[in-house]
Structures are given as structure tokens and as C-alpha cells.
Amino acid sequence: MKYRHKKNGELDLFKIRMSDAKLLRDAVTAISTLIDEGTFVIGPDGIKLRAMDPSRVAMVDFAMQKTTFDEYASDQETKICLNLGELLKLLKRAGKDEAVELYLDEGTGQFVITIRGKYIRTFRMPTLEASEEEQGLPKITFNAKVTLTTDGLRQSLEDVALVSDHVRIETDGEKLAMNAKGDIMGANIELKKGSDALLSVEATEPSKSTFPLSYLSEIVKAAVATSDIVTLEFSNDMPIRLDFKQTYDGTLVYYLAPRIEVE
């Protein structure tokens, strides 16, 4: 493991190398669907980001363990706040099988991205003021747990989006149902045990909850590139937890607050 030494002999805060930039790019794409600016915590074990979207309706909890990287050196926690749109623009410049290196230029406060492919490109971008407080996770007891294919979920949501802007997700432990009721139209989707899209379903009690499609569809659409399997956890009128299984050692979890209809 190579640390980069500065003139005064101190170590750099961190230095990271990933041989395939695609993983990082897809992860940032998935995060940026909810937030424009994000604070990454780069620590000894890996990179983390946890944040709520500006309307505080949804939350993303992302982690990439250091084993995902080809080179990872960081002996303390560093917080770096970046504009994700700008970051994504730069990461998109990395082609297939091109390596990407990240470090912080402490002198200028700039985040430096080096893409090594047929030739070497170095981009610098400003870091923003990082939020001090750490985002807590919601405390929820989930009564239902459903695992299905990400693509199956995406298609079901596309179906219900035709008739309404919110969807009721419910399960009795045997099947997963998605219902939407629009002004004049309705849609019902059932995924029974044994269907190709549904991998497992369990519930300690029948549970249902309603969610805004504007958020749910965007989340699933963004995560579909990173994951084939998603686990949904929910309870009556509580937030839903969407855990997209990653191909690397890490997590991509979203929470979305419910919509509670008042008569």
C-alpha cells in the first residue's frame, strides 16, 4: 500500500484507487437521484454517505467497504462534501476498465480525481462545507420482509404509475400486492410466492403502507443499474426500507416515508 508523502513528511488524509470506475459511477448516480450535495465520510474501513433529500421525505444510506477498492489508504475519518452532479460529470469521463484515483489536495481544499486509461486525466473540483452532525437512522420495527428482483419491482412500479401518483404496498405473508387508485382508473399487481420476480416473502402480521411514486420510481430506476435483488421491509403506515443488494462489499439502502391518507 502506497501512501503519498507530502513535503513535511505527513501522510495524506486518504488515497484511493479503483480499477473499474463503473462501480463508483453507478453508486454516485444512485445517490444523486435524491440529493444534489453529499457529504462522504472517508474512514479507515471505507466510504460512507448517509443523507436525507431536501424535502426530508427520503433517505439514502450508502457504504462501500475498503475491500471494494484496489488500493485504499485512510487512517482517520475525513468528511468531504461534494456537488454530486459535478462529480458525476467527471466520473462519466472514465471509460470501461479505466482506473480512477481519488485524493484531497489539502493545500487548496480541492478534491482531485485522476482517471488512468489510455492517457492520464486529472480533474480538480471544489469541496463544499460539510455538515457537522451525523445523520441518524430511523428506528422502526418492520413486520414484513419481501425479497424480489429489482427489475420486477421497477416494472410493477411503471405499471401502477400509469394510473396514480402513489401506490399502496401490502403483504399478508403469502403474496406482495401493489395497488394504485387514480381519479378514474385503478391498477392491481400481485406477486405470489413462486413467481419469478418474487424470491421470498414473510410477515409477522399483515402490513400495508402507501408511498409516493414520484420518489419510489426514481429510487428504483436509479438503483436498478447497481443491483439485481432488492429487499423491501415495511409495516403499517411506516417508512419502507429498500435494500439493494450490491455486487461489491457494501450497502445501498433507501428509506421512504409513507403517505397517510386523511379522509
Binding site: P54, K139, E261
Partner: protein, 421 residues
């Protein structure tokens, strides 16, 4: 991707709603032998006598008009009243019209003679002498004395459109000459001479340099903005809404970082037979605009809305009115450094003569200059709105997407432990 001006076209719904209630622009379908609007226009047109000659000399506000008809070969040309060396700036300055009467505004507009010439929108990349002259007029900071020669005597043909104010007699212009060297503000000179500057960036630069929105709109329209490869004329009605949208988006990016307001606020103003009421909610940015034309007892408002990320598609139900009302609200939020959910209710009463979408922008601005009424609950706020709107509140609420969202959508903050937020 170059700037997509065609997105901002006038939608069919907008046009049919905004034109004269009875004849929708086709003369005398109302059955009356004389159209009251045109009669009124004619009485205001006392200067037609002064137009016997085939050229005029006057001071342009500075103003220009680019039509959308026959796009991409459009009618373009300057607006010049036959009055030299007067301060004509008010004739094309909607931001100064809020305390004027309809008659005064129509008076300003009908005294503007419109020179026109068919020009291909792409000619902006290599303007000929005539177009260059038009462009020079628009770049000026003050009214410019100009002389126009026509192929025949300008004729009055009043056309009302949903977005831009009407203008007076028009004729094909064959020659245009400036009688003076116009004074061009530095930022304008800089943006215009930068042939690598994208239209959207140019617009933002000009706005930051405090160039008036009206002048930016005119500049976009006459083909002064954009990189050299993509420069083109933009019909005035499209450019009005394009600028409302671009400036709005710019401000929106900024306010998303601000804290939320902490109570319900109501602003309102009535002018020119239009009533605008604005309700601000303590939430993240959301925006909904509803517009109702109170032509009959069973009017139904049209609606468009956006959630926190803004719109990705054109607000085609309200079109011009949506963007014209969103900008002033964003400007207000920027000035108080706060974020809010916003509902705008716009009522148009039958004696309104369609003279442009600017009145929503200016009435909103006027409303937001006043002290708001503040409430601690949504119910109290809605009760106040009930008093201020002529159309029953029930009809507005039936349409609303933001109100149910506000009432029913929970936030993640309610499910966190106590040690956070």
C-alpha cells in the same frame, strides 16, 4: 445540448383560454357588429393620422418584436413610436405598468409602430444590415432615435396573443437607420461579443449584472445570445417564457439550501381584472399554479405543479402563466433566504383584455412587496383564501396536488430517534 426554445411555445390550451372570451381572436363571432375591444383600440389610435407618410422617425423604447407565425421564417422588427426624442421607455416596460390603467397601457402599445421583415431565424449567425440595426436598437440602455422606411403606410391590425402585449400599426420595413450611436451597457457588450457563451449562461450573466429581464428577453429574441453555431431568432412569446423559466431555475438552485419558513403566509393583489393569491407553506420547495378564467359559473381551474426537484417537462396546461408566476415567488424566497411550498391562485375576470402574461409576473411581484398575513395552521390559511377568491375554494382544492401532499406525506424526520435533527 443547445438551448431548446421551441419547448416554450404557446400551447393550444393557453391560447384558447387567453384570447377574447367571445371570439377567441376571430372577429365578431360574438354577434355584435363592432368588436368593443377594437373600437376602443381605434379611439386610442389617434396617431394614425400622423402616419400618412411611408417612413417614420421616433424613439424606440428600445423594443423589438419577433413573431412565431411561419417559423422558422419569422416576422421580426423594431417597435418605434412616431415621436422622436421622447422618453418612450415606459411603452415597453411592463414592470412599470402595475399602477397604470388598461387604457393607458393600450395607449402606450398602440402608439408603437411595428416594422417587420421576414427573416430566417438562422440569419442571426450572420446578420445582414437590417437585422444588425434591429439588434443595435435592442442592445441600447435608453430609448434610441431611429428612422424606418416602409413599403406602404402602416396599417392597424390588432392581434391579441396570450403572452406579449399588443402593438400598433405595422408594415414591412425596407430600411432602418439609427439617428444616434446607442449607449450599450458594458455587460451587454461583453456577452454579445462572446461567441462561445451559451445562451443560458449569457442570460444568467446578464441577470447578475442587473440587466432588466425585459431587455434580456428582447436580446434572446433578436438573436444576440448563444454560441455562434446556435445563434438564432426566438419568437418573442417563446423568449418571454424561456427567460422566466431559466431565471427561475437559477434561483431555485440557490434556495434549496435555505431553511424552511415556519408559518403559513398569504400574499395577494388585484389589478387589471386579475386576482392573484399566493399561499406559502412551511415545507421544502414545491410549487403549484392554478389559473381560472371566471367566464361562467362552472369555471374549472387549470393546474400545473412541481415537487422539490422541479419540472422535467413543460408545464403545458398553464404554460406562460406558470413560469411568469413562479419567478417572482422564487425571487421573494431568495430575498428572505428561505424555502417554502408555494401555491399560486390566479383568477381572471371577464373584463380583462388579453395584453400579456406579464401581468401575472407583475401582480405577483406587487403582492409579494406587501406584508403577508401569517397563520399557524393550514386550515386558518385556507379560510382566509376562501374570502379572497371568487371561485369556491372547493374547486381549487379538488385540483390541488400540493395540498394533499402537504397533508398526507410524512417526513423521515418523524421516524428518527431524538438525538437527530
Amino acid at each position: 445540448m443547445p438551448f431548446q426554445e421551441k419547448l416554450f411555445r404557446v400551447t393550444r390550451q393557453e391560447r384558447s383560454r387567453s384570447l377574447c372570451f367571445l371570439c377567441h381572436g376571430y372577429r365578431r363571432l360574438c354577434g355584435k357588429s363592432i368588436c368593443p375591444i377594437i373600437t376602443k383600440a381605434k379611439t386610442l389610435m389617434n396617431l394614425e393620422k400622423g402616419l400618412s407618410k411611408e417612413n417614420i422617425f421616433g424613439s424606440s423604447p428600445p423594443a423589438v418584436f419577433v413573431g412565431s407565425w411561419n417559423y422558422p421564417k419569422v416576422n421580426a422588427g423594431p417597435l418605434v413610436p412616431p415621436l422622436p426624442t421622447v422618453d418612450s421607455s415606459i411603452m415597453d416596460a411592463p414592470e412599470m405598468w402595475i399602477d397604470k390603467t388598461m387604457d393607458e397601457i393600450l395607449g402606450y402599445r398602440f402608439s408603437l409602430v411595428r416594422g417587420k421583415r421576414f427573416i430566417d431565424v438562422k440569419d442571426a449567425r450572420a446578420p445582414n444590415r437590417l437585422l444588425s440595426t434591429f439588434q443595435e436598437i435592442v442592445m441600447a440602455s435608453k430609448p434610441v432615435d431611429a428612422e424606418l422606411w416602409f413599403n406602404k403606410r402602416p396599417k392597424l391590425n390588432i392581434v391579441f396573443t396570450p403572452r406579449e402585449p399588443p402593438s400598433g400599426p405595422s408594415a414591412s420595413v425596407i430600411r432602418a437607420v439609427l439617428a444616434e450611436n446607442p449607449k450599450v451597457p458594458k455587460p451587454i457588450e461583453k456577452v454579445v461579443s462572446d461567441t462561445d457563451l451559451k445562451a443560458v449562461d449569457g442570460i444568467k450573466t446578464l441577470y447578475e449584472a442587473k440587466i432588466s429581464q425585459r431587455q434580456i428577453t428582447r436580446m434572446l429574441s433578436i438573436g444576440l445570445l448563444g454560441t455562434i453555431r446556435y445563434k438564432r431568432l426566438v419568437p418573442t412569446e417563446w423568449s418571454i417564457t424561456a427567460i422566466d423559466d431559466i431565471l427561475g431555475k437559477k434561483i431555485l438552485n440557490e434556495i434549496l439550501g435555505y431553511p424552511w419558513i415556519n408559518e403559513f403566509m398569504i400574499f395577494g393583489h388585484m389589478a387589471f381584472s386579475n386576482n392573484v393569491q399566493i399561499l406559502l407553506l412551511p415545507s421544502s420547495w414545491m410549487f403549484e399554479a392554478q389559473e381560472a378564467w371566471l367566464t361562467s359559473a362552472d369555471s374549472i381551474p387549470s393546474i400545473d405543479y412541481e415537487l422539490v426537484w422541479g419540472r422535467k417537462t413543460y408545464a403545458s396546461n398553464l404554460a406562460g402563466a406558470y413560469y411568469a408566476s413562479r419567478l417572482p415567488v422564487l425571487e421573494y424566497l431568495q430575498s428572505i433566504r428561505r424555502q417554502a411550498g408555494v401555491l399560486v391562485f390566479m383568477e381572471v375576470y371577464p373584463d380583462w383584455i388579453p395584453i400579456g402574461v406579464w401581468r401575472f409576473r407583475e401582480i405577483c411581484r406587487e403582492a409579494l412587496r406587501k406584508e403577508p398575513l401569517k397563520f399557524s395552521s393550514l386550515e386558518e390559511g385556507l379560510n382566509e383564501l376562501r374570502k379572497r377568491l371568487k371561485l369556491p375554494l372547493k374547486k381549487w382544492l379538488y385540483n390541488s396536488r400540493i395540498i394533499p401532499w402537504f397533508k398526507e406525506q410524512r417526513k423521515m424526520t418523524s421516524f428518527l430517534g431524538q438525538n437527530t435533527m
